[in-house]
Structure formats: structure tokens, C-alpha cells
């Protein structure tokens, strides 16, 4: 990694006796989109808040563009934060919200209005300059929040679950826009989310966290195709944890094949038998959940809709699941 926008060195956050973030090391490349992904309570938000300076680090270092900022106040770190609920100032209109930090720095009215207008144009909100936050929809509030975060030209934008308050349609649209803004502005975005889809869709770098530790960090494809351990494989979704003679392996749900229970096992394939526990139609695909006979485990096979409906399986049917050894991905022991 030649140039790093953000570097975390052994960063730790303790709340009393509990450790929220445990000595994590992370490097985020210049002008990249990084997603911190994990279940709630995994420390991803705390990590983001430490980078922003809204939470003091218990130990470790935070570097922004090579500059030590661990003990700097938030406004002097070159970062800006976009809050989960947007946190717009309710008593100010869109323009004054965006211009707020300029006003705090004592910049004249004409100058700050010009700058605010420019940013609101960037997020296509120029027609709503004098609307108060409660007069704006969720998506519009988010654009204003984005403009406000960008007004000081940060080199790193921190986004705390920015899409979680939006309805699903808007979420996917805003997702595309966030990515476009990141590319156009050429700055680093660090985006905290608990949604795998979001992380895979947006992230140049996806960091999967659990219990205050980083379980895997890599490109979206690396994380999805080669999950480092069982936790990542399960959390990222679309994977089955199976036991092969190599130990625990993950096999993608769309790489599992389904056949009637008595069918011969294809050459070189590994197989197990079970009963169909659930069938979910998902449009282009059908998700078939199979309860394994030999162990108390459930596996999911995703079939193309045409293949499934050509020979559908009923609930309770005896089936054989098989996969090719080449599709196996060996996993490190849990927690590794």
C-alpha cells in the first residue's frame, strides 16, 4: 500500500472493564472506499468514532495522511463525520447547516453563503436552501448532511450507518450516489454498516469485525470468495460451512448441487444427504435449506430458478447435496 489515508496502530478502546475495540491494526489506502462491517456491538462504530475524535482512544495511534491525530480535536483531524440520524441543526435551514462550521471560524456571511450554495449544488439540493430539516425528506436530509460534512474539504469522510434510516429503494439509490461522490471527490470514505450487501457493493476494502477485533480485511471479492474463518463466512452470507477431509471448509451456496436422495454421487464430488427444510423463492433464484441427516446442521443451496422449477423439490424430500473439491475454501479455526 503506497499511500495511506488512514492508519490505525494497535488502537484500543476500553469502557470500564469491557474492551470495545481490542488493539486493531488497519491501513486504508488513499482515496478508497472502506467499509467496516460487523454485527452490532462488534466495535465498528466505536472505531469510527475514535477516528473522528468523538471517542478517546484508550491506547494506540490514529494517523490521517501520515499525521498523528490521536489526541487532536475532531475539527483538526482532516476528517468529517456524517451521523447516523444526520444530526442536522433543527433551528437552521439547509444553507446555514452547511455553513455552520464556516460561521464558527468567523468567515463572512457572503463568503459562507457562496460556499454553502456551491456544496448544496453538488448534492443537488440548491432548490432547498432555506428549508429547515423537518421540512425535508430523509433522503434530502442526508444530502444536506453530506454537504455539511464536505464543507471543510476533509480528506477522510466518516459515515456512521448512513443508509440505515432510508427505505430500501432510496437506500440503493443513495448507495450508488455515495460511491459516485467518493470517486468524484477523490477522498477516502469510511463507512460503517451491518449490511453485507452494502459493504460488498461499495467497499474497495471490506473490514469484517467481531468482538472488537478485525476478522478479515481485504477487497470485497477477497472477503466474499475467500473468507478467512467461519465467522466471516457466516456473516458475509451465501456460504455453507462444511466438513471435508481437509477440515472445515466454506462452499458458496450457489456452488452446491442438489439431486434426489438416491442419485449416485458425481465423480470426484463430495456429498451428504438430508431433507428439505425450507424453500424460498427469491425471483431469479430459489433458496433451498437442507437439514443434514448425519448431524444437526442446516445448509443452504441457491439454485437458478429455471433449474429448480424444471425439477422442484418438495418440503421433506430426501435430497443429496454435492460439491466439487475445487469449490471448497479451507477455513482457519474459529476466531483465527
Amino acid at each position: 500500500m503506497p499511500n495511506k489515508d488512514v492508519e490505525l496502530v494497535s488502537l484500543t478502546k476500553r469502557f470500564g472493564a469491557s474492551t470495545a475495540v481490542n488493539a486493531i491494526d488497519l491501513q486504508i489506502a488513499e482515496a478508497s472506499y472502506c467499509c467496516l462491517l460487523g454485527p452490532s456491538g462488534c466495535g465498528k462504530s466505536t472505531t469510527l468514532r475514535m477516528i473522528a475524535g468523538h471517542e478517546d482512544a484508550s491506547s494506540g495511534d490514529i494517523l490521517v495522511q501520515g499525521r498523528q491525530v490521536t489526541h487532536q480535536p475532531p475539527s483538526q483531524r482532516g476528517t468529517a463525520m456524517m451521523f447516523q440520524s444526520y444530526a442536522l441543526f433543527p433551528h437552521l435551514d439547509a444553507r446555514d447547516n452547511v455553513a455552520f462550521s464556516l460561521r464558527m471560524r468567523g468567515i463572512g456571511k457572503a463568503e459562507r453563503n457562496r460556499k454553502a450554495q456551491e456544496l448544496l449544488e453538488l448534492v443537488e439540493m440548491q432548490d432547498y436552501l432555506s428549508r429547515r430539516p423537518h421540512e425535508l425528506s430523509g433522503g434530502q436530509q442526508q444530502r444536506v448532511a453530506l454537504a455539511r460534512a464536505l464543507v471543510n474539504e476533509p480528506s477522510v469522510l466518516l459515515l456512521d450507518e448512513p443508509l440505515s434510516a432510508l427505505d430500501p429503494f432510496l437506500r440503493i439509490r443513495m448507495r450508488e450516489e455515495l460511491k459516485r461522490f467518493q470517486r468524484d471527490l477523490g477522498i477516502t470514505f469510511i463507512h460503517v454498516t451491518h449490511s453485507q450487501d452494502e459493504a460488498l457493493a461499495l467497499g474497495d476494502q471490506v473490514v469484517v469485525m467481531q468482538s472488537g477485533e478485525i476478522r478479515q480485511s481485504g477487497t470485497a471479492r477477497e472477503v466474499f470468495e475467500t473468507p478467512a474463518n467461519e465467522f466471516v463466512a457466516r456473516f458475509i452470507g451465501g456460504h455453507n460451512i462444511l466438513v471435508s477431509d481437509r477440515g472445515p471448509v466454506s462452499v458458496r451456496a450457489d456452488h452446491l448441487r442438489l439431486a434426489p436422495g438416491a442419485a449416485p454421487v458425481p465423480a470426484e464430488a463430495r456429498a451428504l444427504t438430508g431433507t428439505v427444510g425450507a424453500v424460498e423463492y427469491q425471483g431469479s433464484r430459489v433458496r433451498v435449506t437442507v437439514a443434514e441427516d448425519a448431524a444437526d446442521r442446516r445448509h443452504v443451496a441457491e439454485l437458478e430458478d429455471r433449474a429448480f422449477f424444471a425439477a422442484p423439490y418438495a418440503l421433506g424430500a430426501q435430497v443429496q447435496l454435492s460439491w466439487m473439491p475445487a469449490d471448497e475454501h479451507p477455513l482457519a479455526a474459529a476466531g483465527g
Partner: protein, 275 residues
Amino acid sequence: MRAAPSPSLHGRFDRLLPYLQIAPLALVLFVFLLIPLALIVVVSFWDYDSFRVIPAFVTFNYTEMLGSPTIWRTMWSTVQFTLITLAITGALGFAVAYYIAFYVRSPVMKTIFFMACTIPFLTSNIIRMISWVPFLGRNGLINSMLMDIGLTAEPLDFLLYSRFAVVLVYVYLFTLFMVTPLFNAMSRIDRSIIEAAVDAGASPLQIMFRVVLPLTKTGFAIGSVFVITLVMGDFVTVRLMGGGQSASTGLLITNQISCCNILPPAPMRSCSSSW
């Protein structure tokens, strides 16, 4: 097909329903607020002698009142008391509420601070007022302390039985009525808004005046209503702490009622002979 209930009857009931819902409160306000107010207005035009009020239509109650410099002076003095008290309780209340809302983290400590503010209210107003006397008097604690440490040679006379004492007690009694609505307004401010201000580089003072203050306007409005009505209507404090040196409209009205026995026109009437 089954016959539906008559739509017109239904519609009429639906239209009546909101009126029925506000009827009880409207009735209470009518009987206990509007009627007494109307009575006061009516009686203020009546004549009176030493023993009774005489139904009539006279205007000298008003002409005497509006023509009396004493009344005007008293009114102005009351307005001054109100404005000074409002300013001090507002500033003090904002500071106390700000501290409890933003600097006291644990809910237990918040409760303790609030108890400390409210528990004195379990004792009578007058007792709490009187208890200032040994502090402020000529030979009181403050005067003897000031003389002991050599700051003053003579006891300060303005401390007790003065406008200073009246305002001091008003502030002491009524600040809580500012603290509570302000605290309420502040605790409704989303924490992330404060963080957003920090993120934008606002200093603690800028956060206080540019973010919190504008967002607590309603708290100020409610607190001001309390303080204004309490100060405007007060007569006990002025009598006890003013020592006959100060006047307020509340005191004027009480005097007319109790000393001069001029009952009904008192609120509307001008000064009596004693003034």
C-alpha cells in the same frame, strides 16, 4: 344487501364529536375563568361606600387610578422587579440546566441535583423568605463577616428591607421554575447534534450560544410565563423583604383589600387614602 346506518346521522355525530371532546375543559374555563373575569370588569364600574358596593355605572375607579402618579410608579416598579428577576433567573436557570443536562453524566446524579433543587420547596415560601433575614440584617451573618474581614467598616444597609433583598428572594424562589423547563428542552436535544457541532469546530461557548440556546427557546418561554406571573402577582415578598421601602401592584391590591376594606373595586381602583 343490509341497510347501512343513516349516513347523515353518522356524519352529524362525527362533526359533533370534537366539540363534545373539548366541552368539559371549555366548561371549566368558562365557569372558573371567564365568569370571574367578567364579574371583575362589571364590579369595577360600580360605586361603593364604607360598607357595601352599590350597583351603578361610574368611571371614577378608572379615572382615579390612571390619574395617580403613585399607581404608575408602583406599576413601573413591578415591571422593573419582573424584568430584573426574569433576566437573572433566565441566566442562572440556563447555567444550572446546562450543567445538569450536559455535564452530569449519570442519571443518579441528575436526580440528586434535581432533588437538591426541589426539596426546599417542601417548606413554606414564607419560612424560606424569612430565613434570609438573619443573613442579610444589619447585624446579620453577611454584614458581620464583611466587617470581620475588613471589607466594610459599617454594616451595609441595602442588604435587607430593600429592592435588593426583594430581587434576591425572587431569584432564590423562582429560579427553579426556569431550570425545569430549560432542562426539559435541553434533554430533548439529540447528543449527535452536539457532536456535529464539535465536528464542525464549534467551541464550547459557541455550542452553548449557537446551538443549545436557540434550541431551548420554548423552555425560556415556559419558564418566563411562570416567573412573570409569580413576580407580578407577588405581595408577600415585597412586604417582608422590602420593609415598606418598596411597592408592587400585588401589594397595593392586598392593602386596598385588607387595610382599607374596599373589597370589590380594589383591583381596578386607584390609590386609597392610605397611599
